[in-house]
Amino acid sequence: MFGSKISDTTTLILFVIVVALIPLLAAPLGAGYPALMQFFAIFGILAIGFNILFGLTGYLSFGHAAFLGVGSYSAVWMFKLLSMNVIPALILSILIAGVFALIIGFVSLRRSGIYFSILTLAFAQMSYKLAYSVLTPITNGETGLQLALDDPRILDSARTSGQLPTPNLFGLDMNATRVVDVLGLEVQLNFGYFFSAAFLVLAFWIAMRIFRSPFGLMLKAVKTNQNRLNYTGVNTRPYTLAAFVISGMYAGLAGGLLACMDPLAGAERMVWTASGEIVLMTILGGAGTLLGPIIGATVIKFAEAKLSKFNEGVVHGWFDFLPDGLADVLTWVVAKFVGDGWHLTLGLVFMLVVTFLPGGLVEGARRIGGYLGRRGQKEDLEQLGSNVQGGKTTAAE
């Protein structure tokens, strides 16, 4: 996958296998529980979508989280009004996010560079601020939009139990989990994860097709030299707008899926730092590469879930074998970087990656691959040349 010659079909098959085995692979790392695995898949979709815009066209949107939020709100409203079936919810999520992206993109794409970034940021912040305050009748503000027992849900037959219904796919509940024992390891097989993972594979496949299509080629050309493209008879605006809308629909899908896994939509989903997190995921993994954004999303969600849980007690446990004084000192130091200090680690790792590995983790893997097997490398790089622009730091301008 990294720097070796593998056809797209093989990549896709390997990808499907890895995605299917995640519950098994993540379990020993303590990450094999439904909520986190669902995040891997959903934020993977989000990052793939963001990469179609940023990785291909180079337009850095700092407001992408707004589409995620819009998708979630749409889905929850569908659950409240129509049915707990996830299909109508997801369709509406994608559509509404697409419409939002069309409007915001149409306006924002009149500018480029940092002006574009600021415009998207401004739109997203307006959405967030309004959702938090005056739009509370629609968004339920700070608390977030939730299901209630007395929601109409006109398509579902009334449930008599005093419990809230669960989002489902024609009766298959998203939170249905089967625990199996594999060689002493508890592996949680969660339907919601496999459902999201199916969308991840679909999203990956579509992104791959886009990367390899003339449309994708035009998007890459937009990133490299928009001026030349104009004088080559190409109207770049529809291309960037199409990329923006596709990317927004990906985010809408991700937002919808988040709501399917956990039927709540909160305004914080749209705040600008959430958009920043999407950028972080993409860059960390490797912008402009196919797999990078998914890897970045997985790493960040994993770190967020695990690092923040290491409280001082846990850390002290690691150093118990050491003499008391030393253990205390080490605990004090390490605890600054985990638990409530995990943001510090995130910031540091991020600076290191941007400084030394601007192509992200994928470039790192490629470099390691380069050390391991130098033969044939040059040819591969040429082959991959057009797929790794994100990894290049010296784009002539």
């Binding site: 390899r212 003339p214 449309f215 080629l217 040349g385 057009s386 002539a396």
Partner: protein, 252 residues
């Protein structure tokens, strides 16, 4: 009736009259050179042909249609291609991809949403692009990333990109600027060969008189935004007006 007809074009930037009542008539399938001292308005004029600038007054007709108010991509789709002074190419893409993009633009128009087509499957486009690269002698390098090329190669690539669209009119903005003499001669040969091998009209802006007189069928001399002479090359050399315009700038 010329393929490109410019009538009474004026363009003013603040206090500067950049173009002053410019008239120009470019015959089809000729090489028409526009020369003039620095600041004469050559680039401004060229930008009025491609939609980057809009003249304040006057008309620019291409193939019987007005170019005024059209966007660059629309003008290109009408059959006008442009080579820049500093090569404008897609540095992050491979050379082959660079040449395929104009072919796609020619075939698909200004915009086509085709996310599920595969570039790989477009053998006609690729063959055409490879053909063009062959014509400029760059076929072997087609898998190289464009940013890794020499400046001369970049210019030849840009030429191939323009040719891939089989333009009716090719605008060249100082195609040999900054080149060594040997490269310049090679470029002249290449342009001659292109002009001879197909129906195409060149409008060349050039400082290098060697290039101009090797190529041009007709020459317009621009000075202070005004066309002072338009004539056959043999008549230009001795023209006193031209000498006057170039005075103090004579070694150009």
């Amino acid at each position: 009736m010329g393929i490109l007809e410019v009538q009474n074009v004026n363009k003013r930037f603040g206090g500067l009259q950049a173009l002053d009542d410019v008239n120009l008539n470019v015959e089809e399938n000729t090489v028409h050179a526009i020369i003039g001292p620095n600041g004469a308005g050559k680039s401004t004029l060229l930008n009025c042909f491609v939609g980057r600038l809009t003249p304040d007054t006057g008309t620019v007709m291409f193939d019987g249609q007005s170019l005024i108010g059209r966007k660059p991509h629309e003008i290109n789709q009408m059959g006008v291609s442009r080579v820049f002074q500093t090569p404008e190419i897609f540095t992050d893409l491979t050379i082959l991809e660079n040449v395929m993009i104009p072919s796609f633009a020619k075939r698909d128009g200004a915009f086509k949403l085709s996310p599920f087509a595969a570039v790989k499957a477009e053998s006609a486009i690729r063959d055409h692009a490879e053909d063009m690269l062959g014509q400029v002698g760059m076929l072997e390098k087609r898998h190289m990333v464009a940013s890794a090329m020499s400046r001369g190669d970049k210019r030849r690539l840009e030429m191939a990109m323009c040719l891939a669209q089989s333009p009716k009119l090719l605008l060249l903005d100082e195609p040999t600027a900054g080149m060594a003499r040997a490269d310049t001669n090679a470029t002249i040969d290449l342009l001659k060969q292109i002009a001879d091998s197909r129906p195409i009209t060149f409008v060349v802006i050039e400082h290098d008189m060697h290039v101009v007189f090797s190529l041009a069928d007709r020459i317009s001399v621009l000075a202070q935004g005004h066309v002072i002479v338009e004539d056959h090359p043999s008549n230009i050399k001795g023209n006193p007006k031209v000498r006057e315009a170039y005075l103090g700038d004579a070694h150009e």
